[in-house]
Amino acid sequence: MTRDDFPILKRTVHGKPWIYLDNAATTQKPQAVIDAVADFYRLHNSNVHRGAHTVSAEATAMYEASRETVKGFLNAASTDEIIFTKGTTDSINLVAASWGAKNLKAGDVVLITEMEHHANIVPWHMICERTGAILQWVPVLDDGTLDLDMASRMLTPQVKMFAFTHASNTTGAINPVRDLCAMARRQGITTLVDGAQAVAHLPVDVQDIGCDFYVFSGHKVYGPTGIGVLYGRYDVLLNMPPYQGGGAMIHTVSKSGITYLDPPQRFETGTPHVAGAVGLRVGLRVGFQVGQGVGLREALHEVLLEDLRSIDRLNLVGRPTEHLPIYSFVVRGVHSADIGMLLDEQGIAVRVGHHCTQPLLKRFGLDATVRASFAFYNTKEEADALVAGIRKAVKMLS
């Protein structure tokens, strides 16, 4: 799989070749994923798990084959531990509402970190409000990494859930997930790891990581939007009440009572995004290749960092040594929104704002940053164009 497999990358914007550097927001899709989704609707579309006819059996087989692929991608122990959701946000809401409602009581602590995306903050805030549990935050150091000393100290017996990101969507900082989960496990604390950013760049082995829950979105790993994954250790899932109710997750429904199915079906109600799961399967193959090191361009990023640092008045937000190819920066005396506009004029797509990490930006005393995030299909020429584009924008705005 190479850059040429991604048709949208041939686009132009404002008459210039499109340079797409907003991969942390969403990744582009290879023709194979586009074809998989289209072919599903063209040849195999039927409802799953319900029908008695041939094509519905085909659709069901394809859907379950995707589940099998996700299991392999994450190295889960069983396909019963793989739940398809709408995305990372949906997955976290599921755990907070279902696991949270059953396991949290007044005075319990839910521990998250200052670098979390709002998707891994708001659901916990909401369930804490409902149950009387308390939300606490592991602080972030000046270099953008997690304060591991504080983490260790804050993982007390009062903590029932430790939810943290595998890697930051703003600074790219990669957290030592294995160590953090081990620390938590020693205290009997349940863990949830937000893998939204990590899955496109790093190999993920949930058994090795030792987390109770792992979540990610299909569209951030070259798959379609509207589909995501919640991995949960089976014994944990088994003890969780249903999240949303409806068809497919029930065993029997009568006026005198309702019985529910076991996981994963218990948590997959209504007609699923079958086409999304089918597309995800293909996207994961790309993700798997990249995660195993195919397509990584270390040299590109070494040079890019040097070049960015050489721009006068440019400050990178956090500069961890272990990081994904995500670069957030501000230029002193220049508004990030202005830089974003002028980069767009030059055909360069970046993201401007708080990146759904308001607490993290506040910790660094910032309102908005410019964020450039790379995928394996971005080139050295594009990195160079970004640097030149920033220099030009800063010049025009000074």
Binding site: H14, V334, H335, A337, D338, G340, M341, L342, D344, E345, V352, G353, A368, M396, L397
Partner: protein, 141 residues
């Protein structure tokens, strides 16, 4: 000059520039010439919501015309704010409310402004119209 004539004048100015760099330089220059807004008016009360950067709009009414003070912490947006001020400042509420059509389109700026930014401008214009409406209802102007 009527509001319509002002919009045409600005559209002509922008059409003079062949490339985007010069067009933006002109917008930025307009912003730099904007009268400064007193810091005590740059409060949350006068912040226009729905913009990527901070935009403040402070109205006052002398019985006939509305006088705006406006500012932004982003340079390009400040230029767009300055453009809006050339069009809408020191007008009667009725004049403001009688302007029809899409400001951004008429100035040929839609290709240069994404949805987000256009919405920021739209938010500003909506705010101006709301002030005009409120004052027109209160004073029959």
């Amino acid at each position: 000059m009527t509001i319509d004539e002002t919009i045409t004048q600005i559209a002509d100015e922008l059409a003079m520039f062949d490339d985007w760099e010069d067009r933006y330089a002109h917008i930025i220059a307009m912003g730099k010439k904007l009268d400064p807004m007193p810091p005590d008016h740059q409060t949350e009360t006068y912040e226009v919501k729905g913009c990527q950067s901070k935009v403040w709009l402070h109205p006052s009414f002398d019985g006939e015309k509305i006088h705006f003070e406006a500012d932004s912490d982003a340079l390009i947006v400040k230029g767009l704010v300055a453009m809006l001020m050339r069009i809408y400042n020191h007008r009667t509420p009725k004049e403001i409310l009688s302007v029809s059509g899409n400001f951004v389109e008429r100035l040929g700026l839609t290709t240069h402004l994404s949805q987000n930014r256009a919405n920021g401008l739209a938010a500003m214009m909506k705010q101006i119209s709301m002030y005009a409406l409120a004052l027109s209802v209160a004073h029959g102007k």
